[in-house]
């Protein structure tokens, strides 16, 4: 018997009241001093279980976590969250820290796990606190990124609701958007802490460094063709797609890609103005926000396209 997967439920959590940063038109949210990514993911999960009591946590048989600020270098943050959530001891756990592509990478693994019969219900947890790795003088970054958590359950389904995935990596762009320090290559040392003693957490999670021009050029150069590949792989034409949800990178990138890909405004879903760029959480938050507004009807085809740090791209088409 052929097995299929479907996004069953999405909940998300935004910490605190919205902040309006400097002259920018978009809002964003910042976690409190003592919260990190897994805390926001945990709160989103409690919300999910509360909003959808039909989801039995004992039936979660695989957990995937994507966050750029891990609880520990080892063990996985998925293990930590598995314990906090009291999931079954038969539940598998992995971390998949793939930045802005993290949700779709996790979804691709969840879909594969289910369609080969290795899992029936996969919980994807996303938690991002970019605000803790941004220097106070990095005005552009502060105006773009926001913190959030999201919890998504992907379950077995009778019909195919998640299409084929396309992947791309442009590793030569790894240096243009990264969290500097904090890894094994260039660990944080005393000089770093002293240099940033006036910053939140002394930038002890590292500092986000972005070459905005190269990130924009990557998006303009690669995403249009990548969308085309995703459509071709799924046997669809652009006119057959009801909605498009791209990673909510920035207002400029979204506007530019909408133009370049010739996507009608009413089909191009964006909530960047409300929450900013919430890294891996951006697509599920945009998806759930639009769903809550009644945007989708059964059978709608929705392109989901993630891209970011790496540089990485991932795309698929889901059926609502």
């Amino acid at each position: 018997m052929k097995l299929f997967a479907k996004i069953r439920k999405i909940s998300y959590y935004l910490p605190g009241p919205p902040l309006s940063i400097e002259s920018n038109s978009n809002n964003c949210y910042h976690a409190s001093q003592d919260e990190i990514g897994s805390d926001l993911a945990f709160k989103a999960t409690l919300k999910l279980f509360n909003e959808f009591p039909e989801i039995d946590k004992c039936e979660i048989d695989f957990l995937i976590v994507s966050t750029l600020v891990l609880d520990y270098n080892s063990p996985t943050t998925a293990s930590v969250l598995h314990h906090k959530l009291g999931l079954s001891s038969t539940c598998g756990t992995i971390d998949l820290p793939q930045g802005c592509s993290g949700f779709l990478y996790s979804l691709s693994v969840a879909e594969a796990m289910i369609s080969i019969g290795n899992a029936r219900n996969v919980l994807i947890l996303l938690g991002e606190v970019p605000s803790k790795a941004i220097h106070s003088e990095d005005i552009v970054l502060r105006s773009i990124f926001g913190d959030a958590g999201a919890a998504i359950v992907v379950s077995e389904n009778n019909t195919k609701a998640i299409g084929k995935f396309t992947f791309a990596t442009f590793g030569n762009g790894f240096d243009f958007l990264k969290v500097e320090r904090g890894g094994g290559r260039n660990p944080i040392d005393e000089a770093w802490i002293n240099k940033y003693s006036d910053q939140v957490n002394q930038l002890s999670f590292g500092r986000i460094e972005m070459n905005g021009l190269e990130v924009l050029r990557f998006a303009l150069k690669e995403i249009h063709g990548f969308l085309e590949q995703t459509l071709v792989k799924n046997g669809l034409k652009i006119s057959e797609i009801d909605f498009f949800i791209f990673h909510q990178a920035s207002a400029l990138i979204l506007k530019s890609l909408q133009r370049k890909c010739n996507i009608p405004e009413h089909k191009f879903i964006s909530n960047f103005e409300e929450v900013g760029n919430t890294v891996s959480c951006s697509i599920p938050i945009a998806l759930e926000t639009a769903a809550a507004l009644g945007t989708f009807k059964k059978g709608d085809k929705i392109v989901l396209l993630g891209f970011g740090i790496g540089f990485s791209c991932i795309g698929t088409v889901i059926e609502w």
Binding site: V140, G212, L213, E214, L216, R217, L220, K221, L252, I253, K255, S256, R259, K260
Partner: protein, 83 residues
């Protein structure tokens, strides 16, 4: 490709510009409230309108709107390595 169209597109793209604010000799970095974000808007606009993707060195070499127009036209006509 005409410079008048290029200038109109720029004036339409920036909220704080009105028709007639920009001329070929305008030094774009002297625009009111100029920031690095404005440079990105130029790059995105030129890509969108002419399918020409400027790189950092090309952008740095430009001072006036006419410089931007010239380098865009040159790349459009295959006069420089495609970015």
């Amino acid at each position: 490709m005409e410079i008048d169209d290029f200038i109109i597109a720029i004036e339409e793209e920036f909220d704080n510009l009105n028709p007639g604010d920009v001329s070929p000799n305008s030094v774009f970095r002297n625009m009111e409230g100029w920031s690095s974000m404005h440079a990105l808007i130029f790059v995105a606009l030129i890509d969108s309108k002419y399918d020409v993707l400027l790189n950092g060195d090309e952008l740095k070499s430009c001072v006036t709107i006419n410089d931007l127009f010239d380098i865009t036209r040159l790349k459009l006509n295959g006069g420089a390595a495609k970015a």
